[in-house]
Symmetry: C2
Subunit: 325 residues, 2 copies
DNA sequence: TATGGCTTGGACAACGTTGTCACAATAGCG
DNA sequence: CGCTATTGTGACAACGTTGTCCAAGCCATA
């Protein structure tokens, strides 16, 4: 900037004024400065700028589990879009469900002085963020609640959605329902399982733990679990898969076997409509989830100091798929 | 930091040494400093740190077209993973195919002094980045080449893939092939179309522009285009869809009509295997594309000043899908 | 004992920017 | 004509950190 000033034969401050579009600079000087900027290829250093002016870096952090997963990709896309509306850049990092890594990444983002944080929690203790919150960094948790920290949160109605879906299965007469889940350690899985139990109990359907498979991490594992259950003496007549990765594997296996078991899946997905096997899904609006969280965050960044809020978004039961022949 | 120094009764510099794990500090003093850091909730300001120390911000920028698209989400995930291996954060932004926005976002990233840039170009003139390149910011372009700028580039063999795929259709006896593409303005689409022509010409199959539809932006448009073409007096016996969004719509329409047209699609996708309609896809390894680009970028950041390189990754013809009955 | 090296701590400036303040030049007023 | 506003410009310090340099203390060696 000093070089630009010298070249344009003005003071440092005038250059600063020009690059910040500040008023009260003669048009002629503006010309000279802009010419010098162009000639020297000067580019403002935003690091120094936000260091000096203090408050804002025009950056927010987004912490998710895994970027490549379409659910999180949708969240990231929506967050980026809303960030852009506020002329803000987005730093994205994946925790890969590792609390230690989550902690390190969040600390790093804070050290970079992000204006706010959007977090899909991996761990269950976020008290280490308390100092940061008190220091004034706004943060909003989404999809899962923070642990040990009172903070803004946007959730889905996991329990209600599972309740409605499983109730439909029960009402259709199913009494042996195979349930497949990723990991009981994850909040959303626990909620969905609870919702299923909420539907089974009042209908007098026993909750048979032999029909519940934890640790189903990918489509192949889901297919194997389905195969095993179907080979039991009294196989399930319906399956409830607790996320879309699992649903994929279940569809494949049921289709392969020409089974006529009913299928209920949590999470809708793009290609559900192309499924060769009929299925009902518990759908929700991922974009809305991200939008609600991001907009709340920017309200906080804008100075909203009201009491932390929890928003729960509804789910919807959708029947999809091509009927089997 | 001054407060921490006061509290620990040491000098500012000693605190700096401790938080940077620098050697030559008495263990007792380290204790005192860390205690003060904890009590005061001190957190290093990385902005100031990289401002002072000059060179590195431990941040790279990734510019893509649209985060929520699985192709770009995969790229982002891979880039984030490799960035993490280098203890680097990732700033992601979407250009939404808008050259003006691309320019603004890249400028902004440069102003934030990213250590390097990973760019899927939207525009066709990137000469505005020349100053930045000369200033020493490494950048690698992927999926599409940069315009008016000699730079590292990682591409797919779009033309070769399309050639191989269409050749297979021609060899199977197809002479009327409907081709659907997003936008002729996009580099990859042009290359794929050229590849198709490369296969048609030597086989003596005329290139009938009435069988080529540009501007097919979403599955619904693809379905409509297929419907129209099939209602012509001499309908195509095969379709070549130039990206996976289009392929989805084509599958749906062909399946709905019970058509027996052959289908070739550029881009593989997760659920291709579940397609109710048989299809052949031109597949490639998106992760490999991103990995090659990111690793090249970090080699540049690490000081590799060799001549800019262009890497072209191969594609593969894969037959997928459930045969129609 | 003198000399030199090594370890440890501290003073100071600098990174690139902007806020504060002061001053100069011009215009408007009585 | 002198006075105050108003506008345009610049000197300077400060943001939070770290590199450079120096000094003091200690030990080992000559």
């Amino acid at each position: 900037m000093t070089d630009v000033a010298a070249r344009a034969k003005v003071s440092l401050k005038t250059v600063s004024r020009v690059v910040n579009n500040a008023p009260h600079v003669q048009p002629e000087l503006v010309e000279r400065v802009l010419a010098a900027v162009a000639e020297l290829g000067f580019r403002r250093n935003l690091l120094a700028s936000s260091l000096r002016s203090g408050q804002t870096t025009a950056t927010i952090g987004l912490l998710i589990e895994e970027i490549a997963n379409p659910f999180y990709a949708t969240i990231a896309g929506t967050a980026a879009e809303i960030a852009r509306q506020h002329d803000t850049m987005l730093i994205i990092a994946s925790s890969e469900e590792d609390p230690g890594r989550e902690r390190q990444l969040l600390r790093d983002m804070c050290a970079r002085r992000v204006d706010g944080l959007l977090v899909v929690p991996a761990g269950d203790d976020h008290s280490f963020l308390r100092a940061e919150v008190e220091l004034g960094t706004p943060m909003v948790f989404l999809d899962r609640p923070a642990g040990g920290l009172l903070a803004d949160t946007v959730l889905l109605d996991n329990r209600g959605g599972a309740l409605a879906g499983v109730r439909r299965l029960v009402e259709a007469g199913h009494r042996r329902i195979g349930i497949l889940l990723d990991s009981i350690g994850v909040y959303t899985m626990r909620e969905r399982l609870d919702g299923a139990q909420d539907a089974l109990a009042p209908a007098g359907v026993p909750y048979d733990t032999r029909l519940v498979r934890d640790g189903v991490r990918d489509p192949a594992a889901a297919a194997r679990a389905v195969a095993e259950m179907l080979e039991r003496p009294d196989p399930p007549t319906a399956f409830f898969s607790l996320n879309n990765r699992i649903t994929l594997g279940v569809i494949e296996e049921l289709h392969r076997r020409g089974s006529d078991a009913a299928l209920l899946g949590f999470d809708d997905f793009d290609m559900a409509r192309l499924s060769p096997y009929p299925l009902t899904v518990i759908a929700y609006d991922t974009r809305e989830l991200a939008r609600a969280a991001a907009e709340l965050l920017f309200r906080r960044i804008g100075g909203d100091r009201s009491w932390p809020r929890t928003i729960v978004l509804p789910t919807e039961l959708v029947t999809r798929g091509v009927p089997p022949r």
